[in-house]
Symmetry: C2
DNA sequence: CTGAAAGCGCTTACAG
DNA sequence: CTGAAAGCGCTTACAG
């Protein structure tokens, strides 16, 4: 009706009225400028005169106007969103993920927000059909993959991602021939630190717990560090001290009980994750072994829970803040065309009671 | 070049070629139908002949085509996305959130995915300027708010959300005059269960730990249940048994140490969250009091960590799976115009060693 | 410094 | 059952 005067939806020129779902067109009509100028002003373009810009931004604020991201994204082919794909090992309907990864979420969303990106979170199962879709559907500009997965099982998915030109970074293993970017802690060094610490406490028969096969390159690297530390101490590494377990507390419990039953003697245990260490400590306790008197235990990750188990767990800390921030910085760099590369973070030994040093 | 033949970007009619970033237009050209038909086919419209539909879907699959969400969203005014706003109490740069809420994430993303929605995750501080933007910018169709916040501090934000017609649901308090939808556990009942359990163990001087003021309606409700249980047992509730603490482990520790120093006698403690209970148990231990012999302790939440503290914590469990699924179901119902309402979940007593029942 | 115009890739009335 | 066309709300070359 009022469009007789070229005024669109708002009632009067220069009087800011409430508009239901304002568009840049509404702002333009009220400000008495073109819609293009509104768009420029809201993006702080140097092309628009400061006074004009301020007036427009003021009106936008008063109307509670926000740029329609769908429209902007359609135009620019960007979403300013990162998809965070976390996969769980449980495979069940548990929807649980390793708390280590969960605790990265805060740092990831914070630093993404700081760089102007939103984070789309989702849980994935290794069996799911996923990944390519996020970028192809323009929901995300890049992906962050999180979780201790079976590397062999999803290696093919990584290849598919790479083939589809998807930008992604994976936390954890930094395998040589692995497609895409990755960021992880120096697992070899971490394994070395854990083992050297046990050796320094006089432990000589140090078992290693976890799946150190190629299915878990991170754990394999921790094992490499373990072997190196034994070498440094002039000790053979005894393959009978390898205890295989899937990365769950339950499986660790079962495996360590069986190992104890086998009668193999040991005085130290390096569990390649805290989840495993916790299961192992329960197994040791239930079998009547004292930690750390009979067996010194060291884990890996420094889960929030690690300080609260009994006895508190000595472990190798992965810095989740650096990890979260590094993942975001790298993927955003990749999205924005900067020169980025895979990298490693320094692990840190956290000494608590489970090793016997305190 | 090849457009002479009306063929767009793809090389030959009926031969599926690799197209860089295929659009529905590309699919249409290859399938020899209009773009509109492709759109219908991909949405499984009954308007399109089944054979045509299947042919189109097959081509889309082969080309790795996915609907551009920005374009679809612009057209339909929907994003099929829920924003999950978690706010932390720490206020620091810690980017940490109560693990209770964090553990809901899996269930939220899973059930959202099941209903065709993505989840945009973000951390918020109560001081941040937020909220309205998500829906106004068409990034999300509705919000889920998570976190034990200071209710008074963000009540105004809830009003702003409501004023902007934002669809949202808040987990926790179901205060009478509160705007928007909410879902929480029955906190009065939970507080009653915790207290009645302590009474059943013969405890008579039961302290309550936490901020039970109006700033935390959830905690206030738990306190109401505590009072009701004492009433049921014919006991007065003694206000000298109220121990105020902010909802952190550290503050609980400090508060309980001070309370012990005051010399007020007590044989039971109901902490309104597990975080508080854990801090309290440390304070008790450090003061030489035995749990549960000297003081029986019950918490609230059933954090993942609760089973691992020493002694394992008896607590009131909030069902995070039901909570996560309920939040998603309700907000999606609201978005899709169904008749939805606030609701409450049943709390459950989890008996462990800290109360002395085992 | 500003405006008119094109176009991003969809969905969906409208017409057949 | 299918197509031609309009239009969602932006951004940005182009022209002035």
């Amino acid at each position: 009706m009022l469009n007789t005067y070229g005024i669109h939806r708002a009632v009067a020129y220069n009087a800011v009225m409430k508009v239901e779902n304002p568009t840049s067109r509404d702002i333009a009509d009220i400000a008495g400028v073109s819609q293009a100028t509104v768009s420029r002003a809201l993006r702080n373009s140097p092309l628009v005169r400061p006074e004009t810009r301020d007036r427009i931004q003021k009106i936008a604020r008063e109307l509670n106007y926000f740029v329609n991201r769908n429209a902007a994204g359609l135009r620019t082919h960007q979403s300013n969103t990162i998809a965070l794909l976390m996969f769980d090992e449980t495979g069940g309907d548990d929807a649980q993920i390793n708390p280590f990864f969960l605790s990265m979420l805060g740092y990831i969303t914070r630093s993404a927000a700081g760089m102007g990106y939103d984070v789309l979170a989702s849980m994935q199962q290794l069996t799911d059909d996923w990944h390519v879709e996020y970028q192809a559907s323009h929901r995300a500009d890049g992906l962050i993959l999180l979780g201790y997965g079976d590397y062999v099982a999803y290696r093919r998915k990584l290849d598919a991602l790479a083939a589809a030109n998807t930008r992604f970074i994976i936390y954890g293993a930094v395998a040589a021939d692995q497609p895409g970017l990755s960021l992880g802690c120096d697992n070899v060094r971490g394994g070395h630190m854990a083992t050297a610490h046990l050796l320094g406490l006089g432990r000589r028969r140090i078992a290693i717990l976890g799946d150190i096969s190629k299915r878990h390159p991170e754990f394999a690297a921790r094992h490499d560090g373990y072997v190196a530390a034994l070498d440094d101490a002039g000790l053979e590494h005894d393959e009978s001290l390898r205890i295989f377990a899937d990365n769950t507390e339950e499986d660790a419990y079962r495996a360590v009980r069986a190992f104890l039953d086998s009668g193999t003697g040991f005085d130290g245990l390096f569990a390649v994750t805290d989840m495993l260490a916790i299961g192992a400590m329960h197994a040791l306790a239930d079998a009547g072994r004292q930690v750390p008197q009979d067996v010194s235990v060291v884990g890996f990750d420094d889960l929030p829970r690690a300080a609260y188990v009994n006895p508190p767990l000595t472990t190798i800390q992965q810095n989740i803040r650096e990890a979260g921030e590094g993942l975001v910085k790298t993927i955003v760099g990749l999205i924005e065309g900067e020169d980025v590369a895979s990298s490693q973070l320094e692990p840190k030994l956290i000494v608590r009671q489970s090793c016997g040093a305190l």
